[in-house]
Symmetry: D2
Subunit: 379 residues, 4 copies
């Protein structure tokens, strides 16, 4: 491939004090395929300017209003205007910003949650389909190489038939979790349950069909669930558990998954992302380590998602960057009229966002129901 | 205390090929307070004799019929006859053998499950109360020192108020789990779920009040559950999960518990029994190790349950022996008309067996119900 | 095999307050092949009696003088008198007690160190050879099943040619290590260095030929080495390191070994004794776990040394018991005029004790030398 | 601070196929303070152009000759010309390229080894002093936050007096280590031993004074050492071990350090960089985790070196970027005539490079000597 110009990125949100904004920015430019050229970092003009200056942007392309940015950028000459926007604004604004950006002709990288409900998710999916733009949802944990290896093992049948899936996501680093929950106004199922759901479906390729949820909520506010335990049925009859918590005192971010197949089982922990444990009866436990040829042989996707050789650990940011890498290469390949190989077209889509919203919606309904099982609608 | 003669033990079950029989025997004599003097190891006369000879028993006290043993032994002179029997026979015989042994005037150490249903458990509880004999149920995992430490931390309020409890018990070492399940004819909830339930209640002192169970069964036989996932409510409002499995491919015996309190959390794994992990916000993770003074300060029970100094690992058999040790010292203290301190009177009782049967009964009912929550009756 | 009567054991040392005495006793009787019938537990008559009573000995066979015990026991009728003695007395008495016991016609299980110097070790070896009695030295760490597996892997060539061996033995649980060292009056090389040396030679079958030692000593007393670092050459040209310490603050008993071969490498930690890690290039790291068929296939010795299935952890005491088990079965097989299979005749011998003394002697000489390498004499 | 323009970087080396080149580039730009504007990536014109194009450089600033780059760039206007060069060329060229770059007025980031011998190192140190330019040596492992925490603990006396230091660096991922060694023509002491030496001195602040080395070499070439074991004396009397290997079969990059103090000890593993284990007698083992306030309180340097909150793992690249970050901020602060705080002026210097060369030189001399100790000259 001839060297392609860098894709031009415009950031919406991610102003002073944002945790996720700088992560997006660093991840986007990680592989030298993106340059940040514009941004509406905050609705506060001074704050937006401050961040823009720190990022060495051309002052004329620092906005404090996403709509203004979209309008201004869209009429810049091709090759100068931004190619895609990253949306890292408060949760309840993702949906309409994404809509506007797509309609204005830009590709979109969207922080999660994609929308606030299922209807919005379905609407957004239609818009993505209509506009033909490339849309990515930042489910960053599927960017980890060992998650891709797990998926490829599962999809290639190496685990046998999958019988049970457990995903945990315990958090509890903060001394005052309830105050924090109120301040952020976002429940555990939306905030981390969707990561758990996405991880399970990504790795196994199996869809959840039924949920039985028990959620604990704060202040009698059904959206302020701080702890959630869900029994699951999957489409092939496999059973599962997703349990998430904001009150898992002292736990940091130990998202972890166990997939039990008829032949083998696997275990992966986000805090130890370079390792995948593989179990089978009457054999030693195996620890697969990122960056080795034996991984590449099973999973070209894991290989593509690795930059450093074995023993040189990679972590959270690289996983984030892998989502950008595939998103960007997909945009580039499409713009060149080329097909997009599976190994590239491997990032969370609007359909994943819809699955997430269906999961949240169904879990909340189930929590409110006295019946054991609540069906999760098809997407 | 003046040196007490050894207690005399009679074993029922545990003949050739038994896994648990030799464990009972080794554990019983571990602390030099017990001698095995009689046994009805098998209903097959030759097999019983074979095991008895290997254990160097007096041939006259090798029986092949428990009833005969009870009758013969009860009329031997005090000091010669057995003090207690250990019941390590097939599951469905525990109840009536225990009944007979108690009525014949013997203390009883009983393998689990204690009975086959709740009614039997209640009946046995009444007999234990009536006879005044000491009865222990072999929930061996509560014999581990670090489990006792966890309990003492929880009971002393060091964890704060307990909000969530997760217990897992995944098994899957066998290549043909279903064949094995049919052969043993015992479901996962009875077999290992009761261990999980007992561990949760033992450590936290909280009782389960409601269960929402999803069990997978073999051959449409409700007793052949091979995988079980249960949501739980505890009496203080805490929530929980117990998940057990016979199809957790490649897992051996990783019974593990997480207890999340408002101040601290703890984590313990049976396969790494010498360690207890303690978490709290804004502090390093602590790994407490068995056999140290800082453990003894919090938990005299853990100290009593340790024989070796730190760094000299102890394991499964010592935990088993700890149950015997407390059972035997309780018998001895009572026989001397002395009070029994809490640290000694610390072994699973008939009441624990009843809790277990209630758990099994409620879980099976719940699995069969379309309602989310099934109330677990009080014991 | 017809059931053999239990071997009769006489204990020398192990009185009140002893750590290792009860370990010997529990380990000896662990497999129902030994009964303790006599003991000279302390030179203090009252103390000896106290321990003897606690162990339910016949008062006539409680001695407070080992010589008296040997004399008295030797003239008891065969079948009544003790078969072997266990020596668990202070270090500087092992040699002459062992001599006397062998000459009196008893088999001997001796705590380490076997002797105080090389000359004594050579003399004892001669006496063992002359008397034909069975002599075992309690290098308990070679009793672990996974150590036996490691040895069998190495000896079967599975590691390829061995190129490097590292053994560590860091200790530091005590707040005042120097006071403790003075009180025990035994240096780190004798106390734990010999375990490290024995482990290296046991697993690899390679003999150390040269040592370059740097020892730190207390009070200018060359025997009070509290920290020791040794470079090693092995007979096949492999290099190695043994490093031991009494000042490894906060460490408990993390004896560990790494053996690097041309094909594979292995790693084992005493505090996690049920696991053996196996490494090879371009393959997942393997964790071999005790109690599984795949272990038994490679190592019948590891299988024989296991009593519980996988996932039911075994530990320090079982390893200790394994030394007794093989020692006792060797005595029994010889007494029956039978050959002793390699898998049984697998316990530390007087020759291992001599190797240990040569190691200590050479390390101390090297520490005192300005030359890099000091040759370790052949045994 | 007002927003500073980005520093302009010129890369020498790092052309097609280079592992370390892209790491330097990604790390340099990681914190948005650097832009790559020029490069002499390869002496092969086509290769240099290829890499330059992939990195979107202005074609006029793609060179294939470092001397030409230095000459051309130095006469560009200030603000346009490069501020510093990164040297990622073959080992034997580092010295004279660094000399030329410094003399041409550029700051220098140099891959290790800094030079091929001590004399060159001393000469380079003089040139750095004379020119006043900022020089950094890429000992990337000291960029890890938990290494900085370890250093701050040690320097603040939290460990007490340091008594023993062990550093290991075992490698063995490659099936044919000897072929690889010949191809790379660089011994284990130079290649990884210097990392171990640097880590030990960085954390403890203690200098090695004596070395006793045993090196195994290939083809009788003293520079082709493939395995090295060194006993050490430190200036305060502490003892130590550095052992490195290219034949540690199956090991990847497990650089690890143990520092034993009179009060506490610490342990750190490069492959698990987010954790620092802290040991003390009669206390639970602590695992300190990156990204938490309790870390920041002890070590502002660790805090500065962290970008993500606890539980979001960081790894190799972030450590590398931390070296760049401090190097660049030092350049910026100096250019603004400001003092450079200790927390910023915290990156490996030419003096560290000299220490490394002294270590290599002394280790090789010692390996060739029959005397135990070889004195390491003062730097």
């Amino acid at each position: 491939m001839p060297v392609q110009r860098k894709l031009k990125m415009g950031m919406i949100g991610g102003g002073p004090g944002s945790f996720i904004g700088p992560v997006h920015y660093k991840a986007a430019i990680f592989d030298s395929k993106v340059e940040l050229v514009a941004g509406a970092f905050s609705r506060d003009e001074e704050k937006s300017k401050k961040t823009g200056r720190q990022l060495h942007l051309n002052p004329r392309r620092i906005y404090h209003n996403y709509a203004n940015m979209l309008e201004t950028e869209r009429i810049l000459p091709a090759g100068e205007r931004i190619d895609f926007v990253t949306i890292a604004t408060p949760n309840d604004t993702h949906f309409f910003i994404a809509k506007e950006a797509l309609k204005a002709g830009f590709h979109v990288m969207c922080e999660k949650p994609m929308t606030m409900n299922v209807d919005e998710a379905r609407e957004l999916q239609m818009i993505v389909n209509t506009t033909g733009k490339t849309f990515a949802l930042m489910h960053n944990y599927t960017g980890y190489p060992m998650v891709k290896l797990a998926r490829d093992m599962a999809r290639q049948g190496k685990l046998g038939s999958i019988r049970k899936i457990i995903v945990q996501y315990p958090q509890g680093r903060h001394k005052h979790p309830f105050e924090r929950l109120r301040r952020r106004n976002s429940g555990s199922i939306v905030d981390i349950g969707t990561h758990a759901e996405n991880l399970a479906e990504y790795i196994t390729g199996l869809r959840i069909t039924h949920i039985c949820a028990d959620l604990q909520t704060l202040d009698n506010d059904p959206k302020l669930d701080y702890d959630g335990n869900c029994l699951l049925k999957f489409e092939n009859g496999a059973r599962g558990i997703i349990h998430v918590s904001k009150i898992a005192t002292g736990q940091e971010n130990d998202l972890a998954i166990w997939v039990y197949g008829s032949k083998k089982s696997i275990e992966w922990h986000q805090e130890q992302p370079n390792y995948l444990k593989v179990y089978e009866p009457d054999n030693p436990v195996q620890t697969w380590k990122r960056g080795n040829d034996y991984v590449a042989k099973i999973s070209p996707a894991a290989e593509r998602a690795s930059r450093l050789p074995g023993g040189h650990p990679e972590a959270f940011l690289e996983a984030f960057a892998n989502i950008y890498h595939n998103f960007c290469d997909t945009i580039i390949h499409k713009s060149l009229g080329k097909g997009v190989e599976a190994v590239i077209n491997d990032f969370p889509k609007v359909s994943d966002g819809l699955r997430g919203m269906l999961f949240v919606d169904t879990a909340l309904k189930s929590a409110d129901s006295e019946e054991k099982w609540t069906k999760m609608p098809e997407s």
